[in-house]
C-alpha cells in the first residue's frame, strides 16, 4: 500500500531516473493525475513480477535514504547510479528500469528473453487511454502525442520550443 510519503519519493525518484523535472511529472494543477495511476501499477506489477511484495517499498526507501543523505549531498546523477547499481539485485534494477519505461511510454513492459534465433525484446501494454497521451516520449521529441495535439495549423513548419521547456530541466 502506498502513502503520501510514497508519492513524494515516487515522484522524486522518477524525476532522477527519467531526466524530467518533478514539476513536470507532478504539475501544480494536475487534473489528469497520471502519477497516481503509475504509482499503483508500479506497486502491483513489481510485486507480481518479482514475487517480493516489499520490493517497491524497498526501492522507495533506498531512494529516500540516498536523497536525504547530507554528508556529502548526492546529485541526481549519483543517486541514479546508486539506484541502478547491480549490487541492488537484478529485480531491484529491473523494477527501476521498468519505472522509466512506464513514464516514457504510458505502457507496462515485459521483457522477452533472447532465444537461439532472436535477441531480447520488449513488448508492452498500454496502461490506460490517459497514460498513452501522457507518455514522456512525446515530450522528449519536442512534439505531442499522436492523436492529441494542442498545437495549431502550420506549427510543423517551424522549429519547436527548446527541449528544456519540455523537460523542465
Amino acid at each position: 500500500m502506498s502513502s503520501n510519503n510514497d508519492m513524494d519519493n515516487f515522484i522524486a525518484l522518477s524525476a532522477v531516473l527519467t531526466g524530467f523535472n518533478a514539476n513536470i511529472l507532478r504539475p501544480f494543477l494536475d487534473p489528469v493525475d497520471i502519477k497516481s495511476e503509475y504509482l499503483q501499477v508500479f506497486f502491483t506489477r513489481i510485486a507480481e513480477e518479482s514475487g517480493d511484495p516489499k520490493l517497491a517499498t524497498n526501492i522507495l526507501a533506498k531512494f529516500a535514504q540516498l536523497n536525504g543523505q547530507t554528508n556529502p549531498k548526492l546529485n541526481d546523477q549519483q543517486i541514479g547510479e546508486e539506484m541502478l547499481a547491480p549490487a541492488n539485485g537484478a529485480n531491484f534494477v529491473l523494477a527501476c528500469r521498468k519505472l522509466i519505461f512506464m513514464w516514457y511510454s504510458g505502457a507496462w513492459p515485459t521483457i522477452i528473453p533472447a532465444s537461439a534465433t532472436a535477441p531480447e525484446t520488449t513488448v508492452s501494454e498500454i496502461i490506460s487511454a490517459k497514460s498513452y497521451t501522457c507518455g514522456l516520449v512525446w515530450q522528449v521529441m519536442q512534439s505531442h502525442p499522436m492523436g492529441d495535439s494542442n498545437f495549431r495549423y502550420g506549427y510543423w513548419a517551424k522549429a519547436p520550443i527548446p527541449l528544456s521547456d519540455y523537460t523542465g530541466n
Binding site: G80, S105, A107, I126, V140, H144, F151, L163
Partner: protein, 660 residues
C-alpha cells in the same frame, strides 16, 4: 423482412457508396444503402478511446470489430486476435499479416505454397498486405488523405510501354474524367499547391489548356511542408536523377483542411492514420451525412449483403438478399431482400467480388453474377510498398504535422516503364513509427540495453557506416536521467522515412475466390486470396527503390537504417512461412501494403475480358453498376481514392441518365 421499392439499392457506405447516394438523393431518387458494419457514432470519442488504449496502433485499431485482446493472448495467438469464424463482419487487419497461415486468426483463407521454391521464385505466394474497414463510412476513416489524380499515360500502359492493359479508351479516359476529378476535388475539399502540380502535370502529358478543367484549382491552399520535407528539398537531393528524370519534391494535395471551412483546420495531430481526432481530414461520413440530409436516402446498418438475385429472363438484378445482426458475435437477427430498380455495389475490392461470387445460384450464371468473362476476383493489385529509413544529420523534428506533407511525384512516369514499375515516393513525418514501431522500440533499447532500432549497438550498414547513434556509449547502453533525455531527443528528432508506392501489374492469378471451408459467423464464405509479386517489372521497381533511397539519404547527409529482412521461408512449418519477404537479384526485400486494394472487377471495352463497361455498368446485367478501386484495370501510380470519388460522380451521372 422486405424493403419498400427503391430507385437505387447501394451496398456499402464508403466514399463510393456515399457519393452515389448523395448524387441520386439530391436528384429526388429514393436510395437505400445496405451497410454491413456498425452505425457512424454520434461523436468519435469512443473510437479515440479505443485507439489510445490499443497496444498496436494499426490502421484498424480504433474501430470495431476489435482487432486484438491482450487478455486472450496465448502462446500460439500472442496478439489475442479474435477468431473470424465467430464474427459477423470480420475484415482483414494488418495484425493478421503475421498470422496469415492460421485461419483461426486470419480472416483470409490462403492456398498452400508450392513445394521447393527458391528464395527468389516468382511463384512464391504471400500474405496480402493491405486492409480495409467494415463500418459506417468505410475505409476513409483511416486513410491518409492523399488526393492525386492519375495521368493520361497511366491509362495506356499497354500501348505506350507494352505492360499490363490499357484503360478503356486509353488517354481519352482521362479527358472524360477531368470534370469528375474537378467535382471530386471540390467535394472532398482538397488542399493543394496548383503551381507545383502544374509542373508535374505538364511533364506527364496533361496540358493546361482545358485538360485540368475550366475552373481548375484546389479549393484550399496547399498544406505547409514540414521541417522533414525541407530536409529533403535541398539541391544535393533535387539534383539527383533517376532514369534521367530529376527528383523533385512536391507538396502533396491532401483531403484535409488547410483553412477552417466546413470542417476544422488541420491541427497537425500526426494521426491521420488511424483516426483524425478533429475531422480536419475528409472521410466518407461527411458525404454520408449529406446524403441522408437529402431526405431521400435510407441506410440500414448491421445489414450484410449476402446474395444478388437475377431475373431469369431479363438477367437484370431483381433484389439483394441481406442478413442482419445486433452484436458482432451475436446471432443473426433477420434476413430479407432489398429491391430497387437499379443497384450499385460499393463494398470495396475484396467484399464486392466476394458478393458477386457468392451469388452463384442464378440460372445461366453459375460462376457468379456479372462474371460471364470469368474476370470477377482476378487481377488483385496494391501499391506494393518499399520502406527506407534513416537519421538526418541535424534535427528535422518529425512526429509533427500531418503524417505526410510532401512527396516525389516526378518519377511516376517515363520510358523506364517498359522495364520496371513506376512509383511515387511519400515522405513520412512520423519518424520511424511505421518502419520500426517507434518511439517505443528506441525507448526500450536505451532503457533495457537492447538494439532493435540499431542505434544502440555495433551494426554497420550497407554503406559501411556505423549505426550506433553515440559512439561514446558502449554497445547496448542502459541510460537514465539527462543522458537518456539527450540520446532519445537526438535520435527521435532526426528520424526520416521514405515510402515507395510501387506499381503492380494486373495478374489474373492474383485473385479473390471463395473459401471452400472457412466461413464467418453468419455462415458466409470467407475470401480466399492468392497473391504474388511475380513479374520482373515489379521486382525491378524494388531494386530501383532500394538504390534511389540510398542515393537520397547520402545526398542529404543522412545515415540509412533500412534493415535487411531475414531470408524468406517458403516450406516447412506453415506457421513460420514468410508473409511478405522475397529475394531478387541477390537482395532481400520486405514489402508493405499501401491500403490500395485494386482491380478485382475491372472496367474494359470488351465483354470478354472485363466485368464492367466504361460506364461502370455490368456487361451482363444492365441495371447493375459498380464503384471503387476494383474497377481499375491497372493500379497506376497515384493513391486511388480521388479517382474512386471521380468515378463515383461519373457513375452517378450514368445512373441518372439511365433513369431518364
Amino acid at each position: 423482412m422486405t424493403t419498400q421499392n427503391y430507385d437505387l439499392v447501394i451496398v456499402g457506405s464508403g466514399v463510393a457508396g456515399s457519393i452515389v447516394a448523395y448524387q441520386l438523393g439530391s436528384q429526388g431518387k429514393k436510395v437505400l444503402i445496405l451497410e454491413a458494419g456498425q452505425e457512424v457514432p454520434a461523436d468519435r470519442s469512443d473510437y479515440m478511446e479505443t485507439f489510445f488504449k490499443a497496444n498496436a496502433k494499426t490502421p484498424e485499431s480504433p474501430y470495431p470489430p476489435t482487432t486484438q485482446d491482450p487478455s486472450a493472448s496465448t502462446q500460439d495467438n500472442p496478439l489475442g486476435l479474435p477468431d473470424p469464424a465467430k464474427e459477423n463482419t470480420p475484415r482483414y487487419t494488418v495484425l493478421q499479416i503475421g498470422a496469415w497461415r492460421n485461419p483461426r486468426q486470419c480472416y483470409f483463407d490462403y492456398t498452400a505454397q508450392e513445394p521447393n521454391l527458391s528464395p527468389d521464385s516468382p511463384h512464391a505466394k504471400f500474405a496480402f498486405a493491405s486492409s480495409y474497414e467494415r463500418i459506417g463510412g468505410g475505409t476513409t476513416w483511416h486513410w491518409l488523405g492523399t488526393c492525386l489524380r492519375l495521368f493520361p499515360h497511366d491509362f495506356e500502359l499497354k500501348t505506350r510501354y507494352g505492360q499490363g492493359v490499357d484503360w478503356p479508351g486509353g488517354a481519352k479516359f482521362y479527358d472524360a474524367l477531368v470534370p469528375y476529378y474537378e467535382q471530386a476535388t471540390q467535394h472532398i475539399g482538397v488542399s493543394g499547391d496548383k503551381q507545383a502540380m502544374d509542373k508535374i502535370y505538364s511533364e506527364f502529358g496533361v496540358s493546361s489548356n482545358g485538360q485540368y478543367g475550366s475552373e481548375y484549382d484546389y479549393p484550399m491552399p496547399g498544406i505547409d511542408p514540414s521541417q522533414v520535407d525541407n530536409s529533403f528539398n535541398v539541391p544535393p537531393v533535387t539534383s539527383l536523377t533517376v532514369d534521367d528524370i530529376a527528383v523533385s519534391i512536391t507538396p502533396t494535395p491532401q483531403g484535409r483542411n488547410s483553412l477552417p471551412g466546413k470542417r476544422r483546420q488541420c491541427a497537425g495531430n500526426t494521426n491521420c492514420i488511424p483516426i483524425c481526432p478533429i475531422q480536419a481530414k475528409y472521410d466518407a461520413t461527411v458525404t454520408l451525412a449529406q446524403a441522408l440530409q437529402t431526405g431521400n436516402v435510407d441506410i440500414r446498418y448491421r445489414c450484410v449483403a449476402s446474395n444478388i438475385r437475377l431475373d431469369d429472363t431479363t438477367h437484370e438484378v431483381s433484389g439483394i438478399d441481406f442478413i442482419t445482426y445486433d452484436t458482432q458475435s451475436g446471432i443473426q437477427t433477420g434476413s430479407g431482400t432489398a429491391v430497387g430498380k437499379k443497384y450499385y455495389l460499393a463494398a470495396h475490392a475484396i467484399e464486392t467480388p466476394k458478393l458477386l461470387l457468392m451469388s452463384n445460384k442464378n440460372k445461366g450464371f453459375p460462376k457468379g453474377v456479372a462474371n460471364s468473362s470469368d474476370q470477377v476476383g482476378r487481377n488483385l493489385m496494391d501499391h506494393i510498398m518499399y520502406l527506407a529509413w534513416g537519421l538526418a544529420k541535424d534535427p528535422v523534428f518529425p512526429y509533427r504535422g500531418p503524417l505526410s506533407t510532401s512527396g516525389v511525384e516526378s518519377l511516376r512516369d517515363g520510358k523506364f516503364r517498359s522495364t520496371r514499375s513506376a512509383y511515387r515516393i511519400e515522405i513520412g513525418n512520423e519518424g520511424w513509427q511505421w518502419a520500426a514501431n517507434d518511439p517505443f522500440t528506441t525507448l526500450a533499447d536505451f532503457v533495457f540495453g537492447q538494439d532493435a532500432s540499431q542505434t544502440n549497438g555495433s551494426t554497420i550498414n550497407a554503406q559501411n557506416q556505423p549505426l550506433k547513434f553515440d559512439s561514446n556509449l558502449p554497445d547496448n547502453a542502459q541510460l537514465f536521467g539527462a543522458q537518456l533525455v539527450s540520446t532519445l531527443n537526438g535520435i527521435y528528432t532526426r528520424q526520416v522515412r521514405l515510402g515507395y508506392l510501387i506499381e503492380q501489374l494486373p495478374d489474373p492469378d492474383n485473385r479473390v475466390e471463395l473459401s471452400e471451408s472457412l466461413t464467418d459467423h453468419l455462415g458466409l464464405p470467407r475470401p480466399k486470396i492468392t497473391y504474388r509479386v511475380r513479374s520482373d517489372y515489379e521486382r525491378n521497381g524494388f531494386v530501383s527503390a532500394r538504390k534511389v533511397s540510398t542515393e537520397i539519404f547520402q545526398a542529404m547527409g543522412a545515415r540509412e537504417y533500412t534493415t535487411t529482412p531475414p531470408a524468406p521461408v517458403f516450406s516447412g512449418d506453415p506457421s513460420k512461412e514468410t508473409a511478405t519477404n522475397f529475394e531478387y537479384q541477390g537482395h532481400r526485400f520486405t514489402f508493405y501494403g499501401a491500403g490500395h486494394i485494386v482491380g478485382t472487377y475491372r472496367m474494359g471495352d470488351k465483354k470478354e475480358n472485363s466485368v464492367v463497361n466504361v460506364r461502370q455498368q455490368s456487361w451482363d446485367h444492365t441495371n447493375l453498376y459498380m464503384g471503387g478501386s476494383g474497377l481499375f484495370p491497372t493500379v497506376a501510380t497515384g493513391n486511388p481514392t480521388l479517382t474512386i470519388a471521380a468515378l463515383a460522380f461519373k457513375t452517378a451521372t450514368h445512373i441518372l441518365e439511365d433513369f431518364s
